[in-house]
Amino acid sequence: MDGLKDRAAIVGIGATEFSKNSGRSELQLALESTTAALADAGLAPEDVDGIATYTMDNNPEVEVIRNLGGKGLKFFSRAPYGGGGACAPILHAAMAVATGVANVVVCYRALNERSEYRFGRPQAYQSRTTDGVLHYYQTALHGFMTPAAWVGMGMRRYMHQTGTTADDFANVAISARKHASTNPKAIFYGRPLSRDEYMASRMVVDPFRLFDCCQESDGSVALVITSAERAKHLKQKPALIRAAALSSPEGLVSLADYYTDDIALHDETHFLATQMYAMGRLTPKDIQAAIIYDHFGPIVMPTLEALGFCKRGEAKDFIKNGNIEVGGAMPVNTNGGLVGEGYIHGMNGIAEAVRQVRGTAANQVANVRNVVVTAASGFPTSGLILAAA
């Protein structure tokens, strides 16, 4: 089970600015972040022999390496399920370098998700494939067509089970925006959120208001992964990949996981956490910060429970009084999260976890040894625990 523990490390991070209109192509964004990540690691494009990204990324691996002036690629892989797969490329990369299949793997995600297309618009599946007929049956057939609706369905059930209310949702949003307001890279830098502003924001898909929803952003983030042994001799303090896992619990239906006993957005993260803690030989008490995929901010609550930081139904109380802010018991999304920093499909959260391990985050948590990162719930999902050596 612990075969991958501490065998690989993230040794470089790079990003473009996060904006509403990048003004350049997605390929250029991928090249800019990749170049920055390699420079951060003290490596050159010629060192790269592997690439791992998301199936949804529009930039082919071979176009990235050709434009970079790189050498031959020995490893390439893509992870499905959108934001659910956000941590999966790092698992793939870690497996590749731990087994010697590749030496230096770059992971990137580059998207003009605001200026060229928006995931928040109604999505209608029309291809008569296995995926297409299932999604049509659950989405376009009923006017159930946006991510806010898909995730909101499980969230409403969570509220029913736990007594969580909009006032609790506001606490999550306010904490995220507080972190964003002091992160110079964040779209909401300098713009904290008041409770009145939250409550006055329009309903997007009940139960989610506007300020529960992640940003739609343009930008790119890249990461460089190599073996833990090689990482010792590179420029940065390595972020060891202490655990990495994928999760699709029994009976899960992607995008519309409403058919198992408990649809309240716990199961996928619980199955993930069980694997990660076993691989890393860790318990929740060993974690100093959590980067939770907040496509919709309130998801932080069931995720904190599934990660074992509090009991089921108790997150609404756990998050109060700044307890998920820097200085609290479990700082969450110290970069501002996808709702506050920007939406680079989760890759920006992984970069924040690396900064927390290095000790270089804008909102740094003291004495970080282990940081947990989750990908989107409501989908097959993935996660990481990054650690200081």
Binding site: V133, L134, Y136, Q138, H142, G143, R202, V205, D206
Partner: protein
């Protein structure tokens, strides 16, 4: 809405039975021909006994709301907003997604009794759920 009308449901051999049912005003559920278990969403194999043989059951159409959302924004092609959609525990024993018509957004709740109804939407056969109790009705 002729500009947004589509020619047919997005279906294949696994789902055709469902849309054929809608055409006849029926909500058809897939039933394993070997072990008799109902399943939704549809698929070619029974996850319990792995039989590839199946038949259909015409649902009673009655059930209870297990969870719901109300879509406000952005506009939905072919649907008025606010637009409620629910996951319903059908009395037959499986869950099913469907829009909820005929209820005020502030009246919809988990535990509400609903029943299926049939009609046309964007020129295609459709179904939705509506409240059983008159007191829950938008007109009430």
């Amino acid at each position: 809405m002729s500009d947004s009308a589509q020619l047919s449901h997005c279906s294949n051999k696994d789902y055709d039975f469902f849309y054929e049912g809608l055409a006849g005003g029926k909500l058809l559920l897939q039933k394993c021909a070997k072990c008799g278990v109902l399943r939704n969403p549809p698929g070619p194999m029974c996850p319990r006994c792995r039989s590839l043989e199946w038949t259909t059951l015409s649902s009673k159409g009655t059930g209870t709301i297990h969870s719901y959302i109300i879509h406000y924004h952005p506009p939905l092609p072919g649907f008025d907003t606010p637009h409620p959609v629910a996951v319903v525990d059908l009395d037959d024993g499986v869950r099913m997604l469907g829009a909820v018509h005929g209820v005020k957004p502030d009246k919809i709740r988990i535990g509400m009794k609903v029943k299926s109804a049939f009609g046309q939407r964007r020129g295609l056969d459709a179904f939705w759920f509506a409240p059983v109790d008159a007191a829950d009705n938008a007109a009430g």
